[in-house]
Amino acid sequence: MTEFLQHLVNGVSVGTIYALIALGYTMVYGVLKLINFAHGDVYMVGAFSGFYISHALGVEKEPTLAKALAVFVGSMMICGVLVFLMERFAYRPLRHRARLTALITAIGVSLFLEYFMQLSGWFGPASAPFPPGPTPRFFPQPMSFETPDLPLGELSIQKVDVISFLVAVGFMLALQWVVYRTRFGTSMRAVSFDSQVAGLMGINVNRIISGTFIIGGVLAAVAAILVASSRPSINPLMGLMPGIKAFVAAVFGGIGNVPGAMVGGLVLGLAEEYVAGYLLSSYRDGIAFALLIVVLLVKPAGLFGTFRPEKV
């Protein structure tokens, strides 16, 4: 039983991360019908921004709450600016072109971020050069978690995991509020429904799309800092697998659907966890995909997506 519960805890902790990244995919897809291939790499940039800010602040010597917040907010801002620039210069010029065109620039941006970060350092101290190079870097703990973990007998729940879970859920609730309760959210849903008509109704479509991208980027940064705080080894290709997994999670929940992405992320995290724990860990990725294919065959638009028959 303990083992089962332990898997549940682990699965939720991985699943919330997938969910945070998946949100970025799903929202961008919702408004633009674009798979932002570079999203996983935005996540990587988020981790490295946190790394540089930590080094500049000297987090490793004396971690404090203020510094932890600075790392958090700083990397959220850097990622926000990065995705804004990405959208403005790489995707916006191609918005009215065939959808695959923007996909290729997305792949280009993704490759650029990955390979640029793998270059050997130009400047900066040896412990934190820029660009960081391919060697994995140690991500300093933004806060000390020295206090004992929850006393639950055999079951182990890390403090940092509890905090990540709460932060992640907090951000998701906030997002839910933004999407369904604010003017911006209403415009966003309008653009997602029909961007042309939304434009005619006086919505500034460009601004809404930029805003959507920025929210996605910020959530990726949040996910990155949360992951790096408990699994403190970061490298330029760390976004590759979480990126794909999160994309799968988004499709699983019905791409374009905000609650769907959250549920998709959690389900994927749990499914992987139980497959690895009780069946065969070497088939972990394969079974995750197989499961997804089966779900799609039963529900072709994902768990929460509505299948809209095309009208002529």
């Binding site: 072109r97 490759l111 390979y115 791409i255 394969g286």
Partner: protein
Amino acid sequence: MKPLIALRSVAPLLLTGILVALVQGSLPDYWYFVLVVAGINIILAVSLNIVNGFTGQFSIGHAGFMAVGAYTAAKIVMSTRGLVSTGAGEQLVFLGALAAGMVTAAIAGFLVGMPSLRLRGDYLAIVTLGFNEIIRVIIENSEFLGQATGISGLPKLTTLAYVGMAAAITVMVAVRLLQSTHGRALLAIREDEVAAEAMGVDTTGYKVRAFVIAAALAGLAGGLLVFYLQLCTPKSFTFIKSIEVVAMIVLGGLGSVSGAFLTAAVLTILLETLRGFSEYRMVVYSLLLIFFMLGRPAGLFGTREIWDLLPRWRRKAAAGGAP
């Protein structure tokens, strides 16, 4: 007229065969290798174009089909080793193995094509990507297929002439397909699936057939690649390879055979020229990718072909009567 048309379909094959056979002896090893890789990329790009370009489906798991073809061919040749003498017998077994690889890849294509009955767009993309990953996971777990190390010690049977002829066949299949009723049906599906269905096009049937043809050709490319490398490992068939091929066809213009052909060749050679940059190579490549796409969003030729852009030839052909 009849024999002339027959000749038209065989002539490219013969011509490439003769041309490559003449050239291949005088090529330095390095350029020989680069051309082999370019040829294999041409097969991959032109065949994926049948699914992504002609039919408008979105497949990003082409490397999975390569893997199926490659492992089938490699296994067959390795298990018959020692039974046949080197030379003509080995060549025959090799050709048979390549064909078998095409068949198994086609079967895989059929299995993956079936879900496209129900799924569209990005959902289909995920299924193909998932297929690619599942194939990799199966190979890595299978002792029979050599796990992560793969199958080594394959004989070097692929020559540039084989690759050239395979590329010629692929291009011919694509061009002839495009000009046939079959091709028109695929284009109709791409332009408007609902309208196509209303016009009586069996959309699912055509989609699955497009998948099967593309998969078989990818299997051929995979077989040729591993018998040149003399090594068959799962590392050659990751989804990154699939993405590279997608990039090639979008750069060339979706649906344009000559575009896919040219970009596959140019990109391969471009990446080789950039090799001297070492770590900076992929940075330069990614920037070129972005700027090219921004500068020419429809791809090199759009949906047109290179011969559409040469008005004088066409006019002559039109004057000659035969289109």
